[in-house]
């Protein structure tokens, strides 16, 4: 018996905290952590809306669950490649700070 508004406000807040982390942190790993927070907020939203639609149609409703599964898969793939990139960049430049990775700067 929880209003859907609570879930939506919670996930909006989580998304914005993650957005702040992705925008303001220096360390590339911390930026990836912010992106993980945003993806988690999206998952909360998807599951909340899945529950809402299953409730108002009063039958099993799998599309939201299937979408959430895909978001989980993409999040796992994204973080694996992202952290590999961070480690590769660290190995060449000896720094995880994104401001110092200026090789492509004109």
């Amino acid at each position: 018996m929880i209003p859907i508004a609570w879930y939506l406000i919670f996930s909006a807040a989580l998304f914005c905290i993650g957005l702040f982390g992705a925008l303001a942190r220096k360390n590339a790993v911390a930026i990836l952590m912010g992106i993980e927070l945003m993806l988690n907020a999206v998952n909360v939203n998807l599951i909340a809306f899945w529950h809402y639609y299953a409730q108002i149609h009063s039958r099993p409703y799998v599309h939201g669950l299937a979408f959430t599964t895909m978001v989980f898969v993409v999040a796992a793939a994204e973080v694996a490649v992202g952290l590999a990139l961070v480690i590769s960049a660290y190995r060449r430049r000896q720094t995880p700070v994104v401001d110092e990775l200026t090789l492509l700067k004109g």
Binding site: F10, K26, N27, E36, A80, A84
Partner: protein, 174 residues
């Protein structure tokens, strides 16, 4: 206010607080551990949405795999940045302004939606949905194509990650 609401509020407060700590902690290791707490709070939120399958997946995939991967990367990339000095860019106020504006716009638009105050009641049965999801993921009328594409994506990400992170110097010396 009933028990479920209390559980939701506790989980939401814990995860929001630890999310703030994730983005503001000075030591990267502490931020990674706060991230684990946030992910566990979100798993509790999934349980209150009667989606216990995704709560388990959240623990397995996020806490079990992604958080461990992040902790490993923190430990592998910390020789220079000995966690002293500012971890936040000088322009963090602009970033905070952007985040607060996005939050205000999101909540403002959501509040216009007529179903915003709908109470989420208990669904008839939880396991039924899981059964349907399992069938839909492998049925040709359902999601078998995205499902197979997801597995190809995971393999590509694994191969790509090992290719990117491999140490070239070792190859040359061999």
């Amino acid at each position: 206010m009933n028990g479920l609401q209390v559980v939701f509020l506790l989980a939401a407060l814990v995860s929001l607080f630890s999310a703030v700590m994730v983005v503001s902690a000075r030591r990267m290791m502490h931020a990674a551990l706060w991230l684990v707490l946030t992910l566990m709070g979100v798993a509790v939120i999934f349980v209150t949405l009667q989606s216990s399958f995704f709560a388990v997946v959240q623990i397995l995939v996020y806490v079990g795999a992604i958080a461990i991967l992040i902790i490993f990367s923190v430990m592998l990339t910390r020789r220079v940045m000995e966690d002293h000095g500012d971890q936040i860019l000088p322009g963090w106020r602009a970033a905070a302004l952007v985040a607060v504006l996005v939050f205000a716009v999101l909540v403002g638009f959501l509040a216009l939606w007529q179903g915003f105050t709908t109470l989420l009641v208990e669904l008839p049965s939880d396991s039924d949905n899981l059964l349907e999801l399992g069938k839909a993921l492998v049925s040709p009328q359902g999601y078998v194509l995205p499902f197979e594409l997801a597995s190809v994506l995971l393999v590509a990400a694994l191969i790509g990650a090992t290719t990117i992170a491999v140490d070239r110097k070792e190859e040359q010396s061999r």
